[in-house]
Symmetry: C2
DNA sequence: CTGCTATGAGACATCAATGTCTCACATGCG
DNA sequence: CGCATGTGAGACATTGATGTCTCATAGCAG
């Protein structure tokens, strides 16, 4: 049966195209199907055979972004150890997907009426739960709502991705910059308290 | 001379159209010229008489955003008093323009090759200078670069504007959420140090 | 009243991106 | 070899936004 090999090859190519498209759209969110195809090294016709249209491509990218997010969430083991350490692991794990996330984050702003993929709600909830846990354990302040902390994390990830891609921030500082700002803020603290060694 | 009254009336209308367009494009960044015209209560022809095209409209919005930013920077008196208080004043003053800023912030991501308005560089520099002052006075930590703090402020303003417009954050909490997160971070601190009373 | 000006409405032409189609070619398998 | 399948190249039609144009009308100053 050629079906198995067929679907396997398709999946490989599909993934390659998807990653190339993600990389391109991260830099130029209005790139043409033509540009996406060229970037992936295939013709527009073939691109169209894999993804029925630009909509389908963006949806597929959304699924990819959700999958990578959930993988990062799993890898970060959000409910283990101190919440602050979990945040640090989360940002570190999610860093490779930050560009794609930034693209999808702004793209979602114009989905207006349409229902957005339910995956985001689950991701939002998992991240918000982490901040809630940190608040309940006394690690995090309670005057900043988990919803806002979640939103702020998205915003900082997007800002960080853009700042890196434009050379305003060193790529290696990405995680440190985001985690330190999100957790500790810009103010110089007299002592960095660690409640668990 | 009818010229004076003429230009005056034009300016008023122009400003009204600009503000309406800003409000609309903040919510739906891909709005049509037709939608912009309808939102402003004028016909597409008249809109086109004021702004030669979509490009010109966006450029005008950019100028408006820059002007509002600089006005906020002036009103915040960034070089007076403690740097943390200056940041607070800045966010408070810039809040009304946050939606427009968010739109322009993402719009700038796709200006790729073209040179961007020099006004942004000046604004960047003034904000970065504030953070630098805070670092030199010992108020702010020095491991987060002024460039990153500036970028992070933009990101938080955009996130905040979207979170408010989608009802995830209360409008009245906007300034508090942003300032507290940017300055203090999510971690609960044993004592909030105030180096000047 | 008489013109002048800004406007609204709408009819185009244009342009770019998209979606669909055909055809030729190459690769791989029986 | 002969056949099937995936692909690239390119020719279309379509669609949506845009830019430009004309014309009728309302408001206003002289």
């Amino acid at each position: 049966m050629s079906h198995m090999r067929y679907s396997c090859l398709m999946a490989v190519d599909r993934d390659h195209v998807l990653r190339t498209a993600a990389a391109l759209l991260t830099r130029k969110s209005t790139a043409t199907m033509d540009e996406v195809a060229k970037a992936a090294g295939i013709s527009r016709a073939t691109l169209h055979r894999h993804f029925a249209g630009r909509d389908a491509l963006v949806r597929a990218l959304e699924s990819l972004g959700i999958a990578e997010c959930e993988a990062a969430l799993d890898a970060a083991r959000l409910d283990e150890g101190a919440a602050r350490d979990a945040v640090h692991r989360l940002v570190r794990e999610i860093e490779p997907a930050a560009g794609l996330l930034a693209f999808l984050y702004t793209e979602n702003q114009l989905f207006e009426g349409e229902e957005q993929n339910a995956g985001w709600a689950r991701i939002d909830e998992r991240i918000a739960a982490l901040f809630r846990r940190g608040q309940q354990s006394g690690e995090f302040r309670i005057d900043l709502t988990p919803a806002w902390l979640t939103e702020a994390l998205y915003g900082l990830l997007a800002s960080g991705a853009w700042a890196v891609s434009e050379g305003r921030v060193a790529r290696n500082d990405f995680t440190h910059m985001i985690v330190e700002l999100l957790l500790g803020g810009a103010l110089r603290q007299p002592e960095q308290p660690r409640e668990e060694s």
